[in-house]
Structures are given as C-alpha cells and as structure tokens.
Amino acid sequence: MLIQELREIQRRHNGHIPEDELHALSRRIGRSKADIYGVASFYPEFRFEAPPKLEIRVCTALPCHMKGSEKLYRELWKIVEGKEGVELHRCPCLGRCDGAPAVTINENVHAIFGAQEMYSRCKSAIEGQEVRDQDFRANAQGPFRTDPYGAGEEKYGTLREIIANKNYERVVKEIEAGNLRGMGGAGKPMLRKLKQTMDTPSDKKYVVCNADESEPGTLKDREIMLNVPHCLVEGMAMVALTVGAQHGYIYIRHEYKQQADFLRQEIALAKRAGLLGKNILGSGKDFELEVFVSPGGYVMGEQTALLEAIEGKRGQPRNQMVDMKERALPSFQGLWGCPTLLSNVETWAHIPLIVKKGGEAYKKMGIRGCEGIKWASVCGDVNKPGVFEIPMGTTYAEMLEKAGGVSKGRKLKAFAPSGPSFPFLPATDALLNSALDFAGTKGAGPNAVIDAGGSVGSGAIIFLAEGRCMLDSALNFTRFFRNESCGKCVPCRVGSQKMVDLIKELRNGRAKDFDYVEVIDSLADVLKLTSICGLGQVVHKPIQSVIKYWKDEVEDHLRRSICPANVCFSPPGSE
C-alpha cells in the first residue's frame, strides 16, 4: 500500500519525503522512482521539502468565494508576504461551506462564518499566537429517519436478523422494492451494480464506500458520518455478506478527521460485538472494514480514480474497455481487478432502513410522487446554511425556507441545484417549486429542474441573491474543475484550461474577435463527448447555463465593461 508507506515516511520526516527515503522505498517495494514520484507528486498531501512553520490555505470554491474568501486571501497576503516560515495558498473546497469562508491553519480546518472573524484568527496565527483547533459540532438536527432504530433499540438488529436467518435474499429484495438510487449524484439504481458484483464470479470481492465528498457545496456525507455512522457500517456489512465481499474500505477525505475517528470507533464497536471480522456471528462469512484516508483531490470522488488511489497509483480515472451504459465499471474492472461494489456514504446508510422497514415503506417516505429520503445541504446567500434530512420531493423553495431564507432580505437571483456539476438556474417560481429528485422517477410529475438539465445530484444547493455576477460564478466553478482535473486525458486537462481562459476573456471584455457562443459550444462538445470521466464531461455546464439564461449579463461584460456585482473589473483576477 504505497499511500500508507509514503504517509509513514512523511510522518517520520517532519512532514516531507526526502529523496533518499524515496530511493529506499523504490528498492524495497520494487517500483521505479519515476513511478513513486509520479504518485507522490499527484496528491496534495505529500511534499518533498520540509513544510513551513505555518501554512494557511484559503478555500476559494464558490460558497466561500461568495463570502469574501478572495478578499480574505489578498488581505492575508499583505501580512504574509516576505514573512519567513509562513506559506499562504488558495485551495479547493474544504467541506465547510456552511461556515464560509473556510481556511486551514496547519492542516486543521477553521470555518466560523464571516470573513472578518476569519481574518483576525489567521492574523493571530501569522503573528505567532497559538490558535486552538476548531471544534465542530454536528450541524444537522435529528431525529433522523435514516436511523431505523429507536431510542434504546439495539443497533445492528437487522444485520443480526439476516445472518441468523441466512436471509441475504431479503437485502436484494428490499433494495429492489425500495428502488434505492446511487446518492452520490448519478442516481443510478443501486440494485444493478449490486447484482453485477454478486453475479461476477471471483474468490475476492470488495465493497467500497465513497466518503470523499469534495464538491463545492456538498456537505451531507459529513453529517451522515457524524450522526448515523452505524447505519453506514451496517449497510456495508449487510451488502458485503450478500454479494460475497470479504473486505471493505471507507475512502474518506482527509479534512474529515472527526468523521474518520467516529467511523473507526464505530468499526471497533461493531468488531467487538462480532459483527465485523472473521466468521461473523457464526455465519462462516468474513468481512473486514477499514477507513482509508484520501491523500487529497476532488477527482478521487470519481469511482475508478478512487480505486486507483487505494491501489497506490495516480488517482486517474480508468478507461472503459467495454460498454458501460448498463454496467457499473467497478463491478467489472474493480479494486485489484476484483469485482467491487462502490457507492456513496448516503446510499450505504439508507440500506438498514430499507431492509428493516421494507422497500415499499422506504419509497413512501418520499413526497409528491418521489421516493425515499435524501440528505441535502443548502449554502450561499441564505441565513442559516446547513444540512437537512428531507423527504425526496421537497421543493427548492422549501429548502430555501429551511435555511432561513435569502440573507439580508435580498431577492433571489439564481440557484445551483447541485454544485458545479449541473447548470445554474434562474430563480423562477416554476423552477423553485420543482421537487428535489433524480431523473426518471416513475410516479413523479413533471419537474422543471430536471427538464432544464438539473437534478438533486449530491444534494448541494447553492442559492445566489440578486447582485451576484453569474459570469464570475461560472468562472469560479470552471476554475475549480480546471484545478481539480487529474490531467490524464487531453480534453479535460487542456479543455478546462481553455474554458477558464475563454471565460476570463469574456469577463475582461477581450473575446470580441470571434463568436464566443460557437467557440464555447464546440469546446463544450469536446469536453462532454470525449473526456474519460464525469469531471471533464461537466466542465462546460456552468458557463453554458450562464450564456443561456443571462446572455445580457455576458454581453454587458464583453461589450460595455459592466459587471452587475462590480467584481469583474476590479484588480486582475485570481488564478
């Protein structure tokens, strides 16, 4: 396990990997230096020079950007510049959009809702004062319907029942009846990949939980792991025994230290109760579960990139060797070549509920003809950003209300139904009153958001109030994709750069010599049609939706140098 080896070396050497250790590792594990260096230099966790005394990273993803993170960065730069032993960087989403702007001070995340407060905290750190690590509490408020066990009721009861009755069929049956979907954002039926993993013959199989939640605005898994970790562990164990997997990984982003600790504790508890490990409750089946902390990077949320990372390679998504429209890639090209069932935290966590209460009952938890429940987060220009467990079918307007309405009493201008992977939509009544749902639900009525190319996705709703610059927002999202592209395939690596450049030229009024709509459309086609993975395939969505719904605003920038929010023509943009 290369990642663990590198981490251990870095720990021993005060936060960096010295050259001779890398050479020694190369000899020990029989992988070339170039190979190991390629892996280590891919992940932000590893460095080859000793770290500075103080490293501050400011999150610049849209929710933090809206709360003034760019200004925070620039103000901090003024006091950091020239100071020995202090480094200041911008960084991608830290998963603390509800406390925006978020920063890390020496690897510890701070998010206290307000740029001014954050500035003073960072300033005291730079001045050499000790800054206490921030203690985060769970944001979501229970009781949660995801947890099927009432107070005093024994956790893992459903798992015990299934093992006692050897009734693994029930797990498959209820998941089918409940029409459980992949809650990571794609919304594909869980049953399909479960069956494909179950039916692919192999001595070794794996189940993997994707807890690498790194998309701007997405916070739900953070709260699930904090509030109902036992549901996740039970769900994974139940399905592992059903499909015949002996080993499981929970791949978690490294900023979620608290969540990783919670999960480790939960796994230890389950193990002590004989619910994990060898010969579980005398069933003759083994299942080991471990937490794998990600060495960093949004693209690791792509399922095959995540598998590559566990295997100790560069986290680059795998090519599809065969048609995958009706197939789940990891079931065929999984971890170390073995069939692997990979799903999101929330998908796994819903399973005990579905199996205990029955698929039909789960389905009925949804409203407006939608099925089941959903965890979703709301951030941006709202009074009380946070994470909520809601019935599927709740409308965007209702979500806004839950989050305390638009902040400072402003009017709503736009919203992103789910982070940067879906288009920006205007705040019309028809769209706001649409239900949160995946495309293709049978009993549900018409849905304007889905018709407009949106989806409940990973449940990351970002509201934008009147006065926000849409072009600037699209630039922010596109830049996020560019920075987080793994660089494997040309369309994503080069295309995302070119898209950022084009948006910058629109914003700065320079793209006048050509038909920008046509150029962006042709680049969008390249990204959408030829990129290997989902990251490259959605880079164009923010800017294309802004051109579609807010063309006047784009034209204002380009032809008249006018920005509605007055952010675009201030000092030269950030990188």
Binding site: S32, G487, V490, V494, K498, A511, S522, D525, T530
Partner: protein, 763 residues
C-alpha cells in the same frame, strides 16, 4: 468478460456500415484498420508502436451507435473492445469537428512549429495541417521549414508558469516540455525496455513528464537508449546531435554512411514504417552504403552477423554452401546419424583459406556436398541477412554480388528492430524469415540433399515452423512417426525407454539436426525414442500427410528417398551399453543430469578448471585482470561439473540470451564466436540480467576510455569475456595461458560431453 471467452470467440460488428468479423477482445481501432484500410487518427496510440494503448489523447474517439442514433459520449477506439452487434461510426461531421477542436486546443499550447515540426515530423502539426488548422511553410530554397496557423485561434496559449523549463542536461536527448502533449508514449517506451526512468508527475494542468524523482534528465538513471525519442510524436523529446559509433566503412571503396535524408530517399522500407527523423539522425552510423564487384561475398554462411542488407542496385546470388571446413570460426557439429556411427564425415583435412574461389565452404549441416549451390537470385528492393538479426544464429547462406557496381545498404540489428515496430513490416519480415529458413534447412538435411529444386520448393511451402518451450515433448517413443523435423534453433534431448522401464538419455541434438525422416517413407513405423525440447526450440516440421501429397506428384523422388532411408535402417541402431556396472551407470546418470541442468550443452567455449590439478592460485583471474585494465571478467566460482569447475566466464552460447533487448546494439557477435560489448554500451543492465549464468557484469565507476571522444573518464559499462581474442598473437586466452598447472581450458560443451560419454562407453 471471461478470458477464455475472449480468446476463442469471434464477434461481428459494423464499422462505417461495413460488417467486420474479429476476435473478441480486439480494439475498435484495430478492427477499423483491417476493415476499412484507413487508420483512425490518434496521437497517443500508433500502429508503429508495440505499446499498449492508454486512451488519453482522445483523438481516436468513435461513435458507438445506439439503434442507429448517436450513442452519446464517444469512446476511445484504441481502448474499447469490439462487441457482438456493435455499430461503430468512425467518420462524420460531429466526430471530425470534435477531433478538430481537440487538435486546436492542443496546438494552442504547442510551439508551432516545434523542433520536429520544422522537418514535417511532428504528428500533432501534421494532423493540424490535415484538419485545416495549419499550413506548411517553406524556406527560401523551397524546402519545407515548418507550419503556421492559417488564422489565429480563439484559444489562448497555456500559462507559461505551468510549463517546465527545457531540459538539455542529457548529452544525446533534449526535452522541450512546451511541445509535450502528455501522450505517455515515452513513459510506456521507457518501461517497455525496463528502464522505468520516465513517469508522469504532478496533477492536472501542472502535469509533466519527469525523470526519476523529478530530476534533470542528465542526472537521472537514464541510459540514453533513445526509446522515448523514437516514440515521441512531437518535438518534446528530440535528438541533440551526439554521434554514436556504428558500422565501419571503407571510403576508398566508395562506401559511406547514410544521412537521415539519404536513408529516407534510399530505403523505401522507411516510408511504410514512419520512423521519425530523430531516430534516423541518431542511427546515422548504423546504416551504410556499400559497393561490391562481381562474385564478391557480401555475407558468408556460418559467420555471425548483426546486420541486414537491402539491395539498392544490381542483383545478388544466394548460395547454400556445403562442406566440412572452411575459413570461418564456426565450429563443426557432427550430425546425429554420424554420431551413432551410421554416417562417416568426409573430410579432406585441408584448411581452406576462404575467398570467392573455394570449392568447399563450411556449413553447420551434417552433410557434405561438393559444390556451392545457388538457391536464389535477389534483385534491387530485396532484403536479406535479416535472419541473423532476428535469431542471433550464424548466417545460413552466402550471398555474392552478381555484377560489378552492386550496391547494398547495410543496416544494424537495432535499426531493423525499430523498423519492425511497424506491424505490417514485422509480419512481412517473419514471412520471409520462415520461408527462407525452411528452404535452406531442408536443403541441408541428409534426406533431401540430392532431390530436385522443384520438389523441395513444393515441400518448403507445405512446411511449418514450430516452436517448443523448454520441457515440451516433441515426440514420444512408440507413437506413430508422422512428421519429420529439422532443428533450426535450440537443443533436443533424445531418450529411450529400456525394457526395464528405465529411461536412458541417448543423445542430444543441436541446430541443423533432423529426425523422423524414416517414418515418413517406411510405414508403419513407430518412434524409437522420445524427444524433448531442452531450451527454446524452433523446428521445421513436415507432416506425413503433406509429405505424401507432394510425393504423389514426384514418384521418382519417392523411390530415391526410400532407397536412402532403407540404407539407414539396414544398419543397427546404436543401443546404450548394457554391460556397465551399476556404479558406472549411476555416475553416468549423475553427469548427464548435471550436464543438462547446468545447460553445458549451450556453451561453445566454456572455461573449465580441472580441480584435480588446480591449486587455487588465482593466476587465471589475475591474468584476466591484467589483460583488461584491472577489471577481471572471470571469477573462479561456479558450479561443479564432475571434476571440473565451470567458471563464471562467458560460455559463448549457441542461443545467446544476452543479445536480446540491448537498446543500443552494443552487444553482438561480429563475424566470429565471441560476444562483443562495444564501448558505446550504456550500462542499462539488460544483457547482465538476460545472461542466465551471471557471466556479464555491469561495472559502475570504472575507469574507461571513451573511444568515441578518446577521453578517459569514469563510466558505467557492461563487461564480458572476449574469449580467445584477448591476447592477440597468442591463440589461447590469457586465463588459460596463465595457468601454471594446465588446469584451465576452454572447451565446447559438446566435447566435454563426449569426453565423459566416450569414457563410460569404453568401460
């Protein structure tokens, strides 16, 4: 997809409306090439390379239709496997527009023209021209000098801060990151030759190729093999002009080395293989133009060689020379029949001096004929001599010029290797190799020595080349004898089961030996022995059915052959001695076991020390060191073979494993037996790792004289014993010469075998 299913099944699909049937597991890219004859454009994958596809440039995308309509996201055809009933579109407006935009964004980041683009060699720029983005430009002399944009692109170039500085730290290879498109070809090529120096580093738009742990190329473990440069499609990795040492020429005879431009002009093979200019420039000394007069020998049968020849002008005659001795250093092997006492070698005892006038010329075949027999005429445009480059064996025929002013282009093994990266060329080469190999060896076999050409030609066409892995049983005792074999490469062990059920090793057979001929002619006949492959064996096989078919057309030949075959069977087959004592028998078996286990039969010049005489004085090792600049090429260590110590010193194998995979063709045989490592060895360890006996050592930090520059310095070189050449005037090598106790000797594995075998038999 089960593996077994993939291998056996074929699938049918349509590509651009054309039905294609391919083996399951074939990529769409491959299938399309065969179906339409056109290659789907690609940057990271190429027909020229033997590397596995990675699907990163995405230029080769195709549309996999869904019920006749576009299937949404395109698939990389180099990666995606063909499936039953698939409908694939490789052309069309949408696909072409997508490819064009993809090329345009890449070109926006590319320095137009790049180093290779100036010669029209950059694949990216070439495609840019094809897709109407760039146009070629010419200098004042009208020569191509590069490309330029037809109209400015809306895409701005890459932020210079994300581009690494050019790396010129390596003496023969230059890196220009600004021209790199991260196709991973160099990474794969470097891994393919087991150097593993290049990798992809960083992430996203900061990704770049890197050497070892991000070092400068000149400071990395790079051995300058040039594979990365050969495979690079753009000007990112180019040749910096350093001259390697290659073929020797004699300008007085009008010989000269070809420049890259001349190679492109003179060698039509190149245009098909699309070898890049940088490689040609680097190979400048590996391709020579030579002139020959009538009757002059271009290459001689029985000699070792590392070059192939392409006829530019005139014609040549290929002779199969037969005889028992001659000018070459090739050592003669006695044939199986002869060893069994059935066939006496004819020897005139004279030591011929060589030259075009000789009547008797050597061959490693078991028979004599009294004159050289022309077997083929080759004319301009033909390639010959390729077999020795492929199988590292001796030349199997002699080639002479037909008339004055015959011009041939000689090229080194490595040059041919690189040409062979093109699969069409490789297949053609294999076809020629098999065809010629079969014919030459059939002619050399006892049975067919006097039959007519036409008959042999027919037979050759029915023959197949078969290969066996070590330990494979070729034929079993008491099985019907249904095929005839000629050993082309490798060794075969012959065993006979005795009445008591014990199996006794009778013999082993090496190259050019044949067996099974009697069974073809006299039926019913059962195999009298079991034959097993000792190492990698390549044989020509003629099955009885095929033989009978050809025979039907030539009834006269049958009689002639039957008579010959009967003359063999009338004589008693040799049987192992049955009167030897159990102890002697055990000894014999132990020796046989060691002989095969230690692969002593492979050696043609083993350095053995008679331990009954050796006093361990180490004079042999010291002498070797003294002769070779204080670096000994032998150690007095190794396995024991009875009373002999087989030292760690080059054995000069029949099938030298060390010769494969040298990236710079620094290790080879010239005309003689010794394995020679040239001074331009790059110290990559390939030969060291390939030698099964540990007889090659790469020395780091040794004092070397660089013959290229004449400079003395510290360098890394592989070193190997150069056999009897080391003392010049004295015929013995220094190790043998220095031994004060007459304990050291250089001996052929065969001779060593016979020393024992004969001894036991006498008892």
């Amino acid at each position: 997809m089960a593996e077994a299913q993939k291998q056996s099944k074929t699938v049918t699909l349509t590509i651009d409306g054309k039905a294609v049937k391919v083996n399951a597991g074939t990529s769409i890219w491959e299938a399309a090439r065969h179906a339409t004859g056109k290659t789907i454009p690609a940057l990271c994958h190429s027909h020229f390379m033997g590397l596995n596809p990675v699907g990163v440039c995405r230029v080769c995308v195709v549309d996999i239709l869904n019920k006749g309509k576009s299937g949404g996201n395109f698939a990389a055809s180099c990666m995606r496997e063909c499936e039953e009933g698939m409908e694939v579109l490789t052309l069309g407006d949408k696909l072409e527009k997508t490819r064009k935009t993809l090329l345009e964004v890449l070109l926006a980041d590319h320095k137009v023209p790049c180093e290779k683009g100036k010669k029209g060699e950059c694949d990216l720029e070439r495609m840019g021209v094809e897709y109407g983005l760039l146009k070629p430009i010419h200098d004042e002399k009208g020569e191509l000098s590069g490309t330029q944009w037809i109209k400015p692109s809306p895409f701005s170039p890459r932020d210079v801060r994300t581009v690494k500085e050019p790396d010129k730290s390596n003496f023969s290879i230059a890196i220009d990151h600004s021209a790199c498109i991260l196709c991973d070809r160099c990474v794969r090529a470097c891994a393919d030759v087991d150097n593993d120096v290049i990798g992809r580093s960083g992430k996203g738009w900061n990704s770049a190729i890197a050497f070892d742990n991000g070092l400068q190329m000149g400071k990395s473990d790079c051995v300058n093999c040039g594979e990365c440069m050969i495979n690079c499609p753009t000007g990112a990795i180019t040749y910096s002009g350093f001259q390697f040492k290659g073929l020797e020429i004699n300008p007085a005879r009008g010989e000269k080395l070809l420049t890259p431009e001349e190679m492109q002009r003179e060698l039509p093979l190149l245009s098909a293989s699309r070898i890049n200019y940088n490689f040609l420039k680097r190979s400048q000394d590996g391709v020579a133009l030579r002139k020959f007069n009538k009757g002059e020998v271009i290459c001689r049968q029985g000699q070792h060689g590392r070059t192939a020849f392409f006829i530019k002008q005139g014609g040549v005659t290929v002779y199969l020379e037969v005889g028992q001795e001659g000018a070459s250093t090739a050592k003669q092997k006695r044939g199986m029949l002869e060893r069994l006492g059935l066939f006496k070698p004819k020897s005139n005892g004279k030591h011929a001096t060589g030259g075009p006038d000789r009547d008797f010329i050597p061959i490693d075949a078991p028979i004599d004929l009294n004159r050289a027999k022309p077997i083929a005429q080759l004319t301009a445009g033909a390639l010959f001599g390729e077999a020795s480059c492929i199988n590292h064996q001796r030349r199997s025929a002699t080639v002479r010029a037909n008339g004055d002013d015959t011009i041939v282009i000689e090229m080194t093994r490595n040059f041919l290797d690189v040409l062979s990266r093109n699969r069409d060329f490789r297949n053609e080469l294999q076809r020629i190799y098999i065809k010629r190999g079969v014919h030459n060896h059939l002619r050399a076999s006892n049975l067919f020595k006097e039959v007519g050409d036409e008959f042999l030609k027919q037979l050759a066409e029915r023959s197949t080349l078969v290969r066996f892995r070590p330990g494979d049983v070729i034929c079993r005792q008491d099985d019907p004898a249904d095929a005839f074999y000629v050993i082309r490469i490798g060794h075969v062990i012959v065993e006979m089961e005795q009445a008591d059920g014990q199996s006794v090793i009778l013999r082993y057979m090496a190259q050019s030996h044949s067996f099974g001929e009697i069974g073809l002619l006299l039926e019913p006949f059962k195999r009298s022995t079991t034959c097993t492959a000792l190492d990698d064996v390549e044989m020509i096989k003629i099955s009885k059915g095929d033989f009978d078919d050809v025979m039907g057309e030539y009834p006269g030949v049958r009689e002639q052959l039957v008579r010959l075959a009967k003359s063999y069977t009338n004589k008693p087959m040799a049987q192992p001695e049955k009167t030897i004592s159990p102890e002697a028998q055990a000894h014999r078996e132990a020796i046989l076991g060691d002989f095969f286990m230690q692969e002593i039969y492979q050696g043609q010049s083993l350095l053995v020390l008679d331990l009954e005489r050796c006093t361990r004085c180490d004079e042999c090792v010291k002498a070797c060191g003294q002769t070779h600049n204080q670096i000994t090429r032998l150690t007095r260590d190794g396995l024991r073979f009875d009373k002999y110590l087989v030292t760690t010193s080059c054995r000069s194998c029949h099938d030298p494993k060390c010769l494969t995979h040298c990236p710079v063709d620094a290790i080879h045989r010239k005309e003689g037996l010794p394995i020679i490592i040239e001074n331009y060895c790059v110290g990559c360890h390939a030969c060291e790792e390939n030698c099964p006996y540990g007889n090659i050592t790469v020395h780091d930090d040794v004092h070397v004289v660089d013959l290229m520059t004449g400079q003395e310095g510290i360098g890394r070189r592989a070193m190997v014993c150069d056999l009897d050449n080391c003392l010049g005037e004295v015929e013995e090598p220094s190790c043998v010469y220095a031994c004060p106790h007459n304990a050291a000797e250089r001996i052929d594995g065969d001779k060593l075998f016979e020393r024992y075998f004969a001894g036991i038999e006498k008892k």
